[in-house]
């Protein structure tokens, strides 16, 4: 400002027009000859402000547009992920149905065809199979390597990562309680441990096959229960084709890996 004041009188002396507003640009003194196109006047600053506003508006529009695109993408991916999870759950629930049907109609467990009873499991056959593919006397730790190989290379394809258990709920003879001792006394070799109330079932489940996923914290678990008849052939009357028939359940628990 001081410099401007110093130069003003000299301009007047040279006969030039004394311009108080337009001869300086942002504090820099200028002669009329070298007057620039853009000057620091109110009009110019108003124009500049309008341009800034227009740029700001464009940026805001772009920002909102990007925001909308972002929301669209977010919902699209969420919807497709939900669809994928639904498909996965549907496939896994089909797996449990397939495993259940396989367990129900497994020839290794079926009663003799002479009985002609649907959904009938022979206790002796069941015990033999459990000894082979789960472990002798319900102890999974003493399974031989040969049996383990059989389980992993043959039954694993059928039952996948599931557990198949047998539960006797009514043995027809001793009221609501199950006579757990009689199976050993019959020479059947099966031991059903009593499960006192408030347990849902009177006996502890007898495990036939178990390859459930243990190392995963939250696997998808599906449970299916099938009512069956258990045939105890050791209690067969002379000349009869069937032994005692008990009511029970096959419980299939399928642990599918969560992806």
């Amino acid at each position: 400002m001081r410099k401007t004041r110093m130069h003003q009188p000299s301009e007047a002396r040279r006969g030039g027009r004394a311009v108080s507003k337009a001869i300086h640009l942002c504090g820099i003194p200028l002669s009329t000859r070298s007057r620039p196109l853009f000057l620091c006047s109110d009009r110019v600053s108003a124009r500049r402000k309008r341009a800034q506003l227009q740029i700001g508006e464009s940026i805001a529009v772009l920002f909102i547009f990007m925001l909308m695109v972002g929301f669209g993408l977010f919902f699209y991916f969420r919807a497709s992920l939900a669809g994928y999870n639904e498909k996965l759950a549907s496939d896994q629930s089909m797996d449990i149905v397939r495993i259940t049907l396989a367990a129900q109609s497994l020839p290794e467990l079926q009663c003799t065809s002479r009985l002609s009873i649907r959904n009938c499991v022979d206790l002796q056959a069941m015990q033999a199979l459990a000894d082979k593919i789960y472990g002798p006397n319900q102890d999974a730790n003493i399974i031989t390597s040969e049996d383990k190989e059989l389980r992993d290379f043959y039954y694993n394809d059928i039952f996948l990562t599931s557990r198949i258990e047998a539960i006797i709920t009514y043995d027809g003879m001793a009221g609501s309680a199950i006579d757990t001792g009689k199976y050993t006394a019959d020479g059947l070799g099966i031991t059903f441990e009593a499960s006192p109330p408030p347990a849902a079932y009177p006996t502890k489940p007898f495990i036939i096959y178990d390859k459930t996923i243990l190392d995963s914290l939250h696997p998808n678990t599906y449970v299916e229960i099938v009512p069956v008849v258990f045939n105890n052939p050791t209690r067969m009357d002379h000349g009869a084709s069937r032994g005692e028939l008990y009511f029970g359940l096959l419980r299939i628990t399928y642990t599918a890996p969560r992806i």
Binding site: F75, T169, G172, A200, Y201, I225, P227, D237, F247
Partner: protein, 169 residues
């Protein structure tokens, strides 16, 4: 077209896009999942399998199967000998009824489902044997029941047996 009109058009398009997005979102989120067919199928399978197994179970009456005992519903006074000492019991009330209740409680009620078991002689219109897990007034709550196909007991085929499985409460 004036600039202001253009701006309004732009806003209208944006609002329209947002509205379309909202409609899609709401239609997906509020769409009810149709599980009724699956539930009906599961319940009918449970009912059919349970009834099938139930009729085959041995009983105290000389190892007779439950189906044979249920045929006794034609004659409510039928008795049977349950031990070597010659103790006699009523087939229907002392043997069949408690056994059926135990079986159905352990297989159906344990799944939080209600059941209704009915056996009826073909020539009779009144229910001879009726066992239900339902409690309270029957009209107090709405239930979805799936009835098993009626099964006639073998070998005489004179008693009609049915089992209904219902959603609990």
């Amino acid at each position: 077209m004036r600039k202001a009109q253009m701006e309004i058009m732009g806003i209208a398009i944006v609002v329209m896009l947002i509205a379309v997005g909202l409609v899609f979102y709401l239609s997906f989120s509020l769409k009810p999942k149709d599980t009724s067919v699956k539930t009906t199928y599961i319940q009918s399978t449970i009912a059919a399998n349970t009834l099938n197994a139930l009729l085959q179970v041995s009983t105290k009456c000389g190892k007779n199967m439950m189906g044979v005992l249920i045929e006794g519903t034609k004659n409510t006074g039928a008795t049977c000998v349950i031990d070597r000492a010659g103790t006699t019991k009523n087939q229907l009330n002392d043997i069949a009824k408690p056994a059926i209740k135990i079986i159905l409680d352990s297989s159906i009620k344990a799944r939080n489902l209600d059941y209704e078991f009915t056996s009826q002689a073909v020539i009779s219109t009144t229910s001879e044997l009726f066992i239900s897990s339902k409690t309270g007034a029957s009209g107090a709550y709405v239930q979805v029941c799936t009835r098993s196909r009626e099964t006639e007991t073998q070998p005489l085929g004179l008693v009609r047996v049915s089992l209904s499985v219902c959603n609990n409460g």
